[in-house]
């Protein structure tokens, strides 16, 4: 009996929350509406809310995959699948955490599944990328660091050189704008581990960028 009443109360709570939230299709969206509000509005049938939500988060998600996978086509495919999953699961979405946490949680799971299926490919890609990075970037050369394009290439190559766990933590912080706690939630690790990974990642980047930064 208690379970029944709790279930009924839960249903009522969700409906009540959805009713309170402005979900009219004609609603104008600005920065005052959070990602969570937009997602709820979309789950109630507002397509424009999703459009706004997508435009806010499409680039970070795409870059997250791009930095991890190194291929634009694969990154687009993964981003597409993640957005499809968001669309499919809109009715069961509950604003328990930030929408970006929810989004990158899906992305992380997707990536883990991919690595699990293609572990050999990943190893080869990593080796190739490392070779590529060593061939294309010469961090110690102060002349190449002057140019902005070259600086960009250096940063990207340094990120590519990072181990996968450190790279993911760094990307989640920079692209998803997540806190250490939220990153820990996404990667399903404790906070100290995440902090440690982040520290090592920054240390490596700093050492790679030291000549450019000191200048």
């Amino acid at each position: 009996m208690i379970l029944i009443f709790s279930s009924v109360a839960k249903q009522f709570e969700i409906r009540h929350f959805m009713y309170v939230t402005d979900s009219s299709p004609q609603a104008r969206f600005d920065n005052s509406l959070s990602n969570e509000d937009l997602m709820i509005s979309y789950s109630l049938g507002n397509a424009q809310a999703f459009e706004e939500l997508y435009h806010r988060n499409k680039a970070p998600l795409y870059r997250y995959f791009l930095r991890q996978l190194g291929q634009a086509a694969l990154a687009e495919e993964f981003a597409h699948e993640v957005w499809l999953r968001v669309i499919k699961s809109r009715e069961s979405y509950l604003p328990k955490a930030k929408f970006t946490t929810y989004l990158f949680q899906i992305a992380h799971n997707h990536l883990v599944d991919y690595y699990r299926k293609n572990s050999r490919i990943r190893e080869v890609n990593i080796e190739d990328n490392e070779d590529e990075a060593q061939n294309t970037v010469d961090v110690s050369d102060p002349v190449t660091a002057i140019d902005k394009e070259k600086c960009r290439a250096i940063i990207l190559s340094l990120i590519k050189e990072l181990p996968a766990e450190q790279k993911e933590v760094f990307l989640l912080k920079e692209e998803g704008n997540l806190s250490i706690e939220e990153i820990a939630q996404v990667v399903n690790e404790n906070v100290e581990t995440v902090k440690s990974r982040m520290r090592y990642a920054l240390k490596k980047l700093k050492s790679g960028l030291q000549p450019f930064v000191s200048r």
Binding site: L84, R152, E174
Partner: protein, 425 residues
Amino acid sequence: MHENDSDDIEKIISDLYSDVSQEQPSSALDEKVLSEARQELQQNSSDNIKSFTKKGGGPFSGSWTVPVSLAAVIILSVTVVVTIEKERPYQLTSTPDEMVIAESDSKSDAALAGKPLLKGIAIEEAVERKAVKSKSEETLADETIKEQEVLALMQQVEPEQRQLANKPVPASEGKAEAPVRQQDPVSAEDKLDKAVRENIGSAGAGAAGSSAAEVEIASAPPVLTKQVIRTEKKADSLADSPAASEERAAEAEADKMRTFATMTKPKPVERADVSRLSALAKRTDSGDVDEPVMEQAKPQAIQPVKPEAVAASPAAKLVAPAESFNAPANANAVEESASQTNCSALSVTDCLNSVECMLESGEAGRDYQCRVAKNQCESGFSQAIDTRDTCESRPGCKYIAANCFCPPGVECVCGGGTPAVCVPE
């Protein structure tokens, strides 16, 4: 200082990364995702319309259906259980002791004989049910014949009993000449029971494949055996013609009353007093009243008591006037006053057993009053013991069977009606 440098480097790295990280997904991906999002909404809205139409759009449609259904089922189940529990009064009416006795195996005859009467009824029913279940139809047919013979024997024995009971006692004959029923009420019953037991025993022994229940019936106490026989006789009478059903019903009432009289077993003091009063009244009419009556009428079951104690007891109301039996002129007054006092003071059971009192229902049909017998038909007629034959053997008397009358201590289908009476035609 070192931490500040670290934070600065982290900030610089973050700014550098945000400057260089400008990649965007292709517009094709944007269109694809957005179009799928719109399609999903349209499909969902059409599904919602379909499901709303399909389910009738009531307040309990959609996600409310399952919880509301479960709640309804649980409430209904609880209601049914509570209702069933409330509609079981019969479980509360039987004491646990009786239930155990009724359901227990009735193999121990000695234990059965020692039980109280109410428990004995439950045992009778249990034995009866067991006997009916275990007997085959052929055995039942054979037993029915035997039982009819037993009943005929009973009918022969009972008039003899009544004649002995109603016979006045000559004053000079003393204790040995007292009526058989009063002097030795058990002996007549024993005679009857012995005959019944023999008859049933022979029937049980002769039947092929007789069960243990039959043996139990044959060895059961007399009251049990008679009860079983009467019940089965009632069952047989259901198959008879409707013309005889009324007579059978009256006979059944009489059987019930006889059973009641056997069960109640009135106290010897009162029985003796009633018979003594009857004898005294007759002797007073003839002027033959003398001292030995007092001694003769004392029952065997009573210890001799002092005259002062007797005078104080209720029975003394019957006995005390006998002290003035030396004066014949006062005899009628003594009888009248004694009878009036006796009848009004008697309980329903004693009134039914009494031959000098009549139990009649009041105007309401439920208040019973015990009054003195008014005429020769009522006088000498025991409503609990005597039958139609006893009543109608007297000239000018008519027997009216009991109508839905239930003696105290007996479980009946109906009650509150008039008891059996013997009235002038």
